[in-house]
Amino acid sequence: MNALVAVARRDLLVAVRRAGEAVTPLLFFVVVTTLVPLGLEPRPELLAEVAPGMLWVGALLAALLGLERLFAADHEDGTLEQLLLVPTPLALAVLGKVATHWLVTGLPLVLVAPLCAELLALPHAALPALVVGLLLGTPTLALLGALGAALTVSARRSALLLPLLVLPLAVPLLIFGARAVALAASGADPLGPLLLVASLGLFTLSLAPLAIAAALRIALE
């Protein structure tokens, strides 16, 4: 557990000091939300119809930002190798890193989502489904993104590679998350899709750290 806490604490300190980097996904999310009405007719009914999907797509794309550096800095300065030597299982240390990453990039997204939903004329009835869905879904995105980052940390740099790896895996989350919001917006019960989002989260939480650890070991060989 020690490595998990140590890694988490260090990452939080770094994030606080480099607040600019941490804020990028958040700003991106807000910008995308602002662009949507500009690209469409700003009719409230039209915006409300596309809002569930656009909010989730925005969250997905925002989650991709900031992944490049997730493991790269530690890989460069040797911290990753140190983590291999520590008694704590690498998967747990990974969990600590991803949890911190989510706190810094994912949680603010969840908090700002109601504001963006307002910009897209989403009915207020759908706000709880949006917030809960994103609260359950952004950790999953963080884990999937971390997996992509771990697989590519020792690869040649390519801007397209990480999105190509992560986005197909995120499709089910997008489908269920957006559906929950759409159901709630039309007055129906969003519980079904929300439970599916939660299940995806649990599933990813149990398996992703192991895959991420395996990917990091490959990078360090």
Partner: protein
């Protein structure tokens, strides 16, 4: 550590000698070379007969007319795209668990063919959709799932190629393939579910209705022929990769 029980060592221990030989690059190279014609020629014959029968012998469908004949290239492509991914994931698993680099090379060999079949499924599905539904693209469950599968293949190929050390590329893409195969049922389920929500009542899924035996047998021939084709091409590509990766070894000189 080496005295503890290890699944990898135990499972390797119970395998017969010929299985062990299979993992050795020079043996694989020779064996694959001998086997390829036995897959390639039957593949060509089966597909030629199946295609001819599908285009000219099978009775015309009353609903879709002769447009339904696209099924004879569309459905085998879709099935083969799945089989190819299974081969990639299976070979990757073998490579990662038992640390057999040849298995990774087989996966790399199967991936481009799989991507081709996936592309073909998408293209023929799209062409079929135009006369049936009036548009070039329809977000029906199967086409959408094939699209995601195409991205999985492309991601695998891109990752395998993205490392200066090819062995890292082997293992990283192997992990990705396993992650993909675990996610594939989830993706398919979610896309199926999503598509039932948005499907207009008049549209039925491509090819999903009662199919008579006269229409079915050319389809089975095409599927079988395409499968043999997949194996033949994979074996050939795997041999090429084997030569590249093993070029510094002595056995390569004899085999060339």
């Amino acid at each position: 550590m080496s005295d503890g029980w290890s699944f990898t060592r135990w499972s390797a221990g119970i395998l017969p000698a010929w299985a062990h030989r299979l993992a050795s690059p020079p043996h694989f190279y020779a064996l694959a070379g001998r086997l390829t014609p036995w897959f390639a020629w039957p593949a060509a014959v089966l597909m030629a007969v199946g295609l001819f029968a599908g285009l000219f012998v099978a009775p015309t469908d009353h609903q879709q007319g002769d447009a339904f004949r696209i099924i004879y290239v569309h459905v085998p492509s879709a099935w083969l795209s799945m089989s190819s991914y299974a081969i990639v994931a299976g070979a990757a698993a073998v490579g990662l668990i038992w640390r057999i680099k040849l298995a990774h090379w087989v996966a790399h060999a199967a991936a481009p063919v799989g991507a081709s079949f996936t592309f073909l499924a998408l293209a023929t599905g799209s062409i079929w959709g135009k006369p049936m539904w009036g548009t070039w693209w329809v977000w029906d469950a199967r086409l959408t799932a094939e699209l995601v599968l195409l991205f999985l293949f492309l991601g695998y190929l891109a990752l395998a190629d993205a490392f200066d050390d090819p062995r890292k590329g082997d293992r990283a893409s192997g992990v990705l393939a396993l992650v993909g195969v675990v996610n594939l049922p989830i993706i398919k389920y979610s896309v199926d579910w999503w598509s039932t929500l948005h499907q207009p009542a008049t549209i039925t899924a491509l090819g999903k209705r009662a199919i008579t035996i006269e229409m079915l047998w050319p389809l089975l021939l095409m599927w079988l022929g395409a499968t043999l084709f997949l194996v033949a091409v994979t074996l050939t590509r795997a041999r090429a990769i084997t030569l590249e990766r093993e070029r510094a070894q002595a056995w390569v000189g004899e085999a060339l």
